[in-house]
């Protein structure tokens, strides 16, 4: 448990100045990193050194640094959020790495997530999918009492399991097809498992899938990689539910 010092690491990182420019990998050596530091703290230290050397620091997305906002999005040594399970990049710690190791950091790669700068990608495609139907159509006010419609304990729990999605995009990054099915299915399941959301479940599944296809995400081939790499372990059984809702919607037309 006691923290050790990693004397030297090589950070091989994708550099790309803007969306329109070409990118390349650069390798930076970095020294004396505590194993107790988080991965993003290591990135802070690297950037501090780059600035002091007069270089442009590496741009990367991050915000809450406690694994809930879903902003951080680094593809580390071939895995979204790096070599640990059930963590976001900000929860990954340097004790998962060895002294002398080369760490390769890439941005999420998907046509629907174009690079903005270095490791920062544009994920507004996720917002657009949700805007297509990821909501319950109620206005503020004029709703029944919270206890008016009972919801079974199991349904609430299952809904919550799906609602835990943080929208980070690791599922798309992990999927060999850059499919957003786990993301879409999490929202469809979250709402379909509750009586309040069930009402428009079919319409929701249809319009969200149409939007997903339009935005250039790939199709699901059930490899299950998304579930394993999801920081919140969202199950691909949600994808089965999405398929069901969608097919029923299409065949009842």
């Amino acid at each position: 448990m006691a923290d050790k010092i990693l004397k030297k690491l090589n950070i091989k990182v994708w550099r790309q100045n803007s969306a329109s420019e070409k990118g390349r990998f650069e390798t930076y050596p970095i020294e004396n990193i505590s194993t107790g530091a988080s991965f993003l703290e290591m990135m802070d230290i690297l950037n501090e050194e780059l600035i002091n050397e007069g270089k442009d620091p590496v741009a990367f997305d991050h915000d809450c640094r406690e694994g809930i906002c879903g902003t951080c999005s680094l593809y580390i040594n071939g895995r979204p959020h790096g070599p640990d399970t059930e963590v976001t990049t900000c929860q990954l710690h340097m004790r998962k790495f060895k002294d002398g190791q080369t760490i390769t950091i890439e941005p999420w790669r998907a046509a629907a997530f174009p690079v903005i700068k270095d490791l920062v990608v544009e994920r507004s495609a996720f917002d657009k999918i949700l805007q297509a139907g990821g909501f319950v159509s109620v206005n503020t006010g004029g709703v029944p009492d919270g206890n008016a419609i009972p919801v079974s304990y199991d349904d609430a729990e299952e809904s919550m399991d799906a609602a835990a999605c943080i929208g980070c995009g690791a599922c798309v990054a992990a999927c060999k097809n850059s499919s957003a099915m786990l993301f879409v299915s999490a929202k469809v399941s979250h709402l379909a498992k509750l009586p309040q959301g069930k009402v428009e479940a079919k319409r929701r599944a249809r319009s969200m899938i149409a939007k997903m296809d339009e935005l250039g995400f790939g199709g699901c081939t059930n490899t299950g990689a998304c579930e394993v790499e999801c920081p919140k372990s969202i199950s691909i059984s949600n994808i089965a539910r999405l398929n069901r809702e969608y097919l029923v919607a299409r065949f009842s037309e």
Binding site: G78, R109, M181, G224, L242, Y246, L247
Partner: protein, 226 residues
């Protein structure tokens, strides 16, 4: 409907339905084939083959089956192309084996190899049986004259070690393809949930092992015995 067939889930639906159709075919096909090793005289197999060739239901199903293959292959190409286009720039490093099985990631390759095998298989047997009946001898069983399919098959397996090995590999490839394809088709149809996920995957493996050993055991039998 046309936009359904090309929507992401629509395409998967086509793959799944055509796939399930092919499971049925493969299961029946294997059952008949296994007759090869239970009767070295070939009588049993010949009867089975004759039944399959003359049965009305099978005759109706046959062209649909052909269509099933074509659809399964065509749609897999469309799907793969679109999935490929969804990631124009790939990753430098990948540790995919941590999160998914090799089979699930390589269905197109596996499918293509199975297709190559299928073409050889058709040239070897199906073509002659179907369109070149002159090449087949006939035998008399229970007073009726039927095609001696057994000799056609058995002689190939008895004569060529290379074909034996090819057919063993073909069976195994098909098995690997099915190990992902079987449960995946149910998942795609939405016939899955948290409880059934593990069960379906287990059934999928068992089915794949049965199919692979079933098909591989036939050439192996001839290889060892003759």
């Amino acid at each position: 409907m046309s936009n359904f067939l090309f929507a992401s889930i629509g395409k998967k639906f086509i793959m799944s339905i055509s796939g399930i159709f092919l499971f049925l075919f493969i299961s029946v096909h294997l059952t008949v084939n296994l007759l090869l090793i239970f009767d070295d005289s070939g009588e049993l197999f010949n009867l089975g083959a004759h039944f399959m060739a003359t049965n009305l239901i099978i005759k109706i199903v046959e062209p649909i089956l052909g269509l099933g293959f074509v659809v399964h292959i065509l749609w897999s190409l469309v799907l793969s192309y679109q999935n490929f286009m969804a990631r124009p720039i790939g990753y430098l490093t990948k540790s995919r084996s941590v999160s998914s099985t090799w089979a699930s990631r390589n269905m197109l390759i596996l499918g293509s190899l199975v297709l190559v095998f299928l073409v050889i298989h058709i040239i070897n047997f199906f073509w002659d049986i179907k369109f070149n009946p002159g090449k087949l001898n006939t035998v008399y069983i229970n007073g009726g004259e039927i095609e001696d399919t057994y000799t056609l098959v058995a002689s190939l397996f008895k004569a060529s070690v290379i074909y034996d090995i090819l057919y063993i590999i073909g069976g195994i490839l098909l098995g690997i393809h099915l190990s992902h394809g079987f449960w995946s088709s149910f998942q795609t149809l939405g016939l899955n949930n948290r409880n059934w996920m593990k069960r379906l995957q287990r059934i999928s493996y068992i089915y794949a092992v049965i199919i692979a050993t079933g098909f591989a055991i036939i050439p192996l039998y001839f290889l060892i015995k003759f």
